[in-house]
């Protein structure tokens, strides 16, 4: 549904995205992740024909965004970041205006606008001025707008930013349901959300794609997949040195909690070092009060891939 080839966008003096290549298939929910300024919104604005790329090609729903921009836009529902709206229009009035603009025929207008109001929970504010709505409700108006012409494809730029936890859950539920019939490209900074909704993920950093896979694969392929925590009293032994000798352990760090020593071990991907750690502790007669393994999360993947930013 979305095909991107060598897409590059340079702003005055700055490259926002460079040689992006990816595809989103029909029915996929693709998560688009990356730190601030990575180029997510830039990519989405190009795909929605809002601005042209500096070079490269892209097609949306089978239509080239250059040559068939109007058709591409007809088949696309786009929700921009920060959801700019006409504040002086009323919710129903705005949605009807947008539906007409996107070619919803007059006889289907009431049905479509009614449906999206229902779907996005806008019934109780339908007569309000958009300027008088809270941020969450404005976000919903943006989502309703993206859906009103029954597009095959949705591009949503941070659809859940600024929502309360209940609303986030509702929107997530909505996106998951939409994913049954629609193809969705969605950007967000809320990682658990991505793990729950997306079938695939692209991680982009400084305008380049760093990873593109299913959430499960990304997590399991992580180089430093797992961390092991050991709380013990090692007595006179040098715990760090001993633990580092265990095969599979890459790194050990130590903090203290009262007279307990807390070792944090980083292990190689796929290696479970806990039995070895336990054997070492019992051989050396260390007192142990906790031995646990922390599963790598998408957050670890994200930090590992993009942490170069902080250096």
């Amino acid at each position: 549904m979305i095909k991107v080839e060598n897409l590059t966008k340079r702003y005055a003096g700055q490259t926002a995205i460079e040689n992006l290549n990816f595809e989103v298939g029909k029915g996929e929910i693709m998560g688009f992740l990356g730190p601030n300024g990575a180029g997510k919104s830039t990519t989405m604005r190009i795909l929605s024909s809002f601005m042209p790329p500096t070079s490269g090609r892209a097609s949306v729903a089978g239509y080239d965004i250059f040559e068939n921009s109007l058709q591409a836009r007809t088949h696309l529902g786009y929700m921009p970041e920060n959801v700019p709206l006409y504040k002086d229009m009323r919710v129903t009035e705005y949605l009807e205006y947008r539906a007409a603009l996107k070619g919803v025929p007059h006889r289907r207008m009431n049905e479509r606008v009614g449906d999206v109001k229902e779907l996005c929970g806008l019934k109780e504010v339908e007569k309000k001025l958009i300027g008088a709505l809270s941020k969450g409700y404005r976000q919903r108006v943006g989502l309703a707008d993206a859906l009103v012409h029954e597009p095959d494809l949705l591009i949503l730029d941070e659809p859940t930013s600024g929502l309360d936890p209940n609303q986030i859950r509702q929107v997530r539920e909505l996106i998951r349901n939409l994913g049954r019939q629609h193809t969705i490209l969605l950007s967000t900074h809320i990682l658990p959300e991505v793990e729950m909704t997306c079938s695939r993920i692209i991680i982009i950093n400084r305008g380049k794609i760093e990873a593109c896979d299913t959430p499960e694969n990304l997590v399991s392929q992580m180089r430093t997949a797992t961390g092991v925590r050991l709380e013990a009293r090692a007595g006179n032994d040098d715990g760090i040195e001993e633990l580092k000798k265990i095969p599979g352990v890459k790194d050990v760090s130590l903090t203290t909690d009262g007279d307990w020593q807390v070792f944090s071990l980083r292990a190689e991907a796929g290696a479970d070092v806990r039995p070895e750690v336990f054997r070492l502790a019992s051989d050396r007669r260390w007192a142990v009060r906790e031995l646990s393994q922390r599963k790598a999360t998408l957050e670890d993947v994200f930090v590992e891939i993009t942490h170069a930013d902080e250096v």
Partner: protein
């Protein structure tokens, strides 16, 4: 075509959402009402050779109000959309750039025409009260309002262009005000240049809105201003369209 009308209807309605429309309407009614009152009382005091209608459309009051309304009704057209970011949902909907430019232009033009409708009643009321004609002929009315529409077409296209250049409404208003005032006073140059020949003066006169209004409001329909303003409007709208498209490359 239906998309054009959808856009157009929002443009016209949007004037009435904002207080600007009502302020402009009131300001305009006030100035034109005072103008009308002055002309009538002036004529009550002495005999003149022109009609009320002719005087109304050629007074200082009239021109003062006239050049001020254009920045007010055009400044927000594009600048506001750029500033609020609503240009993004607008241009990612399946509409053509040209449809948007023309809808904005005609929306402003229609609002401008709406502003003038009440002034027609001045003449109707005058006639009903005094039982005397306010204008010298039907042609004089037609000529005056034709001139208003022609000038309006051109000045609104200038305002459109100014608004597409910036995201700041005040800047847009200042640009269009400066350009319109300059163009307007350009027509007065002939009165300053004393040592130019009468031919040059006549040539300048063709471009003078005041002179054209003088002619048309007497009922002498002249095709030269029609050609001049229609073609200038098309030129300005072409510029606006080009600037609007190139906005994409500047982003």
């Amino acid at each position: 075509m239906t998309k054009f009308f959808t856009l157009l209807s929002r443009e016209i309605r949007s004037y009435f959402y904002s207080p600007i429309a009502y302020i402009v309407l009131v300001f305009f009614l006030l100035v034109s009402g005072v103008d009308f009152y002055f002309q009538v009382s002036f004529m009550n005091q002495r005999a003149v050779e022109y009609s009320v209608q002719e005087a109304f459309f050629n007074s200082v009051f009239f021109w003062f109000a006239f050049v001020l309304i254009f920045p007010l009704i055009t400044m927000r057209l594009f600048a506001e959309e750029f500033k609020l970011g609503t240009i993004e949902p607008l241009m990612t909907a399946p509409v053509r750039d040209l449809q948007v430019v023309l809808a904005k232009y005609f929306g402003a033009l229609i609002f401008y025409v709406i502003l003038w409708i009440p002034t027609a009643f001045y003449f109707v009321i005058f006639q009903a009260v005094t039982h005397e004609p306010a204008g010298s002929s039907t042609g004089a009315y037609l000529g005056s309002y034709l001139m208003l529409v022609l000038l309006g077409m051109f000045y609104i296209s200038i305002g459109c262009f100014a608004s597409v250049l910036t995201r700041n409404q005040i800047v847009a208003a200042i640009i269009s005000f400066a350009v319109i005032t300059l163009l307007f006073f350009f027509g007065l140059v002939q009165f300053i240049l004393l040592d130019v020949g009468s031919e040059t003066r006549q040539l300048l006169g063709y471009f003078s809105a005041i002179e054209q209004m003088g002619t048309l409001s007497r009922g002498q329909i002249d095709t030269r201003p029609i050609v001049l303003y229609v073609s200038m409007t098309i030129v300005m709208l072409t510029f606006t369209y080009q600037a609007f498209q190139s906005r994409k490359w500047r982003l």
